[in-house]
């Protein structure tokens, strides 16, 4: 137990270290841009945690991040790199929106699960295509998921500008291509008056625990992880590696699709352009920060939810484009994957641990 605790503390120390390194490099960019990094970071880090609005918005952003992050963790666990979150979210959102608009008469208890399932199916198909191409045709999944992102985006635009466009939009012509408003029976309740935080957060956390159960308490999960850790051994043990690669990608894309569904029925109540604010890419950072563990992803997604809303607050406070936070996230990825040298190499690990134990 004591060892376990030390292990967790050690992991956290490495993650915090990674984050600080990323902030340091981000500060250099800020200095190049002629902005005081302390002022910018104060607005980005302190402001969101000191207001109801900031905390509520952090949760709103944590929900899709959690779903995408868990999905990406599943893929990574089977050694598949899923960069297609963005496209999977968008297709999930459009499928969810179309389903809700097509079935307005259904009661809430039926319609909401159906809409979420629609998102899961659309995202799952998109992820599954990349998984299938990897398993059957050895197509590098990074390249295929990136290409599928561009294709999904065009399908998405075509649908919200064309067949699914809001009829009143056509009549009044506000110039914003979007679908009609979802029926009330498909919409999540808001939890706090005047804030956007909604009950989707409960669904997200339940799904996180379900995935944890699936991966660590079932044969399916054991096999999926075995495929990622030792594909050859898994193959000898009779596990159909190909099948698990495809299944992992279907699950991964499906969870991103659910993120899209929840965005539609929880936040925007319609499908519109710019619905996925790069959650597909931020989800990668969240997955890595959560150590590819569904339960680790929960705090990681709150943390990055705070960072995203912090970036917007920074933009308003010191006029630094929130795009900066993308580069900080990129650096976090670089730092986290680099920390494996310390985490996995026994030599460095021992040095680092003894240093850690001495100082604290």
């Amino acid at each position: 137990m004591k060892n376990n605790l030390r292990e967790i503390l050690f992991n956290i120390a490495v993650l915090v270290g990674s984050f600080i390194i990323a902030l340091f490099f981000g500060a250099i960019i800020l200095l190049i841009a002629g902005v005081n990094p302390l002022v910018a970071y104060h607005a980005m880090i302190i402001r969101p945690i000191s207001s109801i609005y900031g905390l509520s918005e952090a949760v709103v952003r944590a929900i899709p991040l959690m779903m995408v992050g868990i999905g990406i963790s599943i893929a990574f666990r089977s050694k598949m790199i899923n960069i297609g979150g963005e496209g999977q979210i968008q297709l999930g959102a459009i499928a969810a929106g179309a389903t809700a608009l097509a079935l307005p008469g259904l009661p809430k208890v039926i319609l909401i699960p159906v809409v979420i399932l629609a998102g899961f199916t659309a995202g799952g198909i998109w992820g599954g295509i990349a998984g299938w191409m990897k398993a059957k045709l050895s197509v590098n999944e990074v390249l295929s998921t990136v290409m599928l992102n561009y294709i999904a985006f065009q399908i998405y635009l075509y649908l919200i500008r064309g067949p699914l466009i809001d009829p009143s939009e056509l009549a009044w012509g506000t110039g914003v291509p979007q679908t009609a408003r979802m029926p009330d029976s498909s919409i999540f309740q808001r939890l706090i008056q005047g804030q956007r935080i909604h009950s989707g957060i409960f669904i997200a956390i339940i799904i996180a625990f379900l995935v944890y159960f699936l991966l660590w308490r079932t044969t399916f999960g054991f096999r999926l992880r075995a495929v990622g850790e030792e594909p050859k051994a898994a193959n000898y043990a009779g596990v159909k590696v190909d099948k698990y690669l495809v299944l992992a990608m279907i699950l991964s894309g499906g969870l991103a699709g659910i993120a899209g569904s929840i965005e539609v029925i929880g936040v925007h109540h319609r499908v519109l352009e710019g619905l996925s604010a790069n959650y597909g890419f931020s989800g990668i950072v969240v997955a890595l920060f959560g150590r590819l563990h569904p339960l680790g992803v929960i705090p990681a997604s709150f943390f990055f939810g705070l960072l995203l809303i912090g970036a917007e607050m920074m933009q308003r406070a010191v006029d630094i484009p929130s795009a900066l936070v993308i580069s900080i996230q990129g650096l976090v990825i670089l730092a986290v994957v680099s920390s494996n040298l310390i985490l996995e190499n026994p030599k460095y690990r021992k040095k680092f641990l003894s240093f850690f134990v001495q100082k604290f």
Partner: protein, 311 residues
């Protein structure tokens, strides 16, 4: 349309194809060196974005295209240094670290663009360089010799990189390091050094490819300027089976198809706009599916080399 109209169209598409294939050639040849030495650099897209911005900025604010291009190459090299440090020295998982590099370049380019430029601005761009005598040749003259200097450089790069890779001692070392690093190490080749050189060289070429997009092709910068070309370049390395002339073939094929697609859009033939836009990405997926042969891949690709660890 009669025969001469078809001929004119073919010449037009081919001329455009030669011009638009240049950035793919730069980026893909660079990526080829990186992969040949065993490092999969998936950050090409991000490097191209930053390169495109840097070149654009100096062409726009200082009216100095050459300085912009040189700085784009240097910035690309620095990004490569970062990638090499993370993936060679720190032995990070290359597939994911490349994505980190991509997001870093994307974010920095977007941030600096909004801060220093604000909105979309256009610049005069690189002039075409007509070569007296050659440009006036019938048909071929226009297709091959009516371009800016970077296009000639891109096409020159193909045989040069072939020569370097297959006919020089350094090229031999690169190939050895990418296929059997342990044997190379035993022979006294510095695996780390060669990998650093290849990743940095590859990233410099990616920076140049980005610069080409902003100062020689689009003559402007926008946050979606690169639009997946970096990833397409990586796909072309697979398509070309890690060979310079294979990459050239792939880049030309892709650019001709793309030129045809653009002509289709403006030709007035009724066809959904979204389908034509999606076409290049679908084409790349199909090409990847058809061309992938595992045996052509450098065997140590994505495997970090650890001298003390006998794996």
């Amino acid at each position: 349309m009669d025969v001469s109209a078809y001929l004119q169209l073919a010449i037009r598409i081919l001329t455009v194809a030669v011009a638009v294939s240049a950035p793919y050639i730069f980026a893909a040849i660079g990526e080829m060196f990186s992969q040949k030495s065993g490092v999969l650099n998936l950050g090409v897209e991000g490097i191209m974005m930053l390169g495109a911005f840097v070149a654009f900025y100096f062409a726009w604010a200082h009216e100095n295209i050459l300085l912009g291009i040189i700085l784009a190459i240097i910035v690309g090299g620095l990004m490569g240094l970062l990638m090499a440090f993370v993936s060679v020295t720190l032995k990070a998982k290359q597939g994911i670290s490349g994505i980190g590099l991509y997001m870093f370049g994307w974010g920095v380019a977007g941030t600096l663009f909004r801060l220093f430029v604000g909105g979309v601005q256009s610049i005069p761009g690189l002039q075409n360089l007509n070569i007296s005598g050659l440009t006036d040749l019938p048909y071929i003259g226009r297709i091959l010799f009516s371009h800016n200097i970077l296009v000639y450089l891109a096409f020159l790069l193909v045989p040069v990189s072939w020569y370097v890779l297959y006919k020089t001692p350094w090229g031999l070392k690169v190939r050895a390091v990418g296929s059997t690093p342990r044997a190379a190490d035993t022979m006294g080749i510095n695996v780390t050094k060669i990998r650093y050189q290849c990743v940095i060289l590859g990233s410099m070429l990616a920076g140049l490819a980005g610069a080409y997009l902003s100062v020689a092709q689009a003559n402007m910068f926008a946050s979606d300027l690169v639009a997946g070309r970096g990833f397409i370049a990586i796909a072309l390395v697979y398509f070309g089976r890690w060979k310079p002339f294979g990459i050239l073939k792939g880049a030309m094929l892709f650019s001709i198809a793309n030129g045809f697609q653009r002509w289709f859009q403006i030709s007035g033939i009724a066809f959904p706009y979204e389908v034509t836009v999606v076409f290049p990405y679908v084409l790349i997926i199909v090409v990847l599916a058809l061309s992938h042969k595992k045996f052509a891949e450098p065997t140590a690709l994505t495997v970090p080399y650890d001298r003390e660890f006998k794996g």
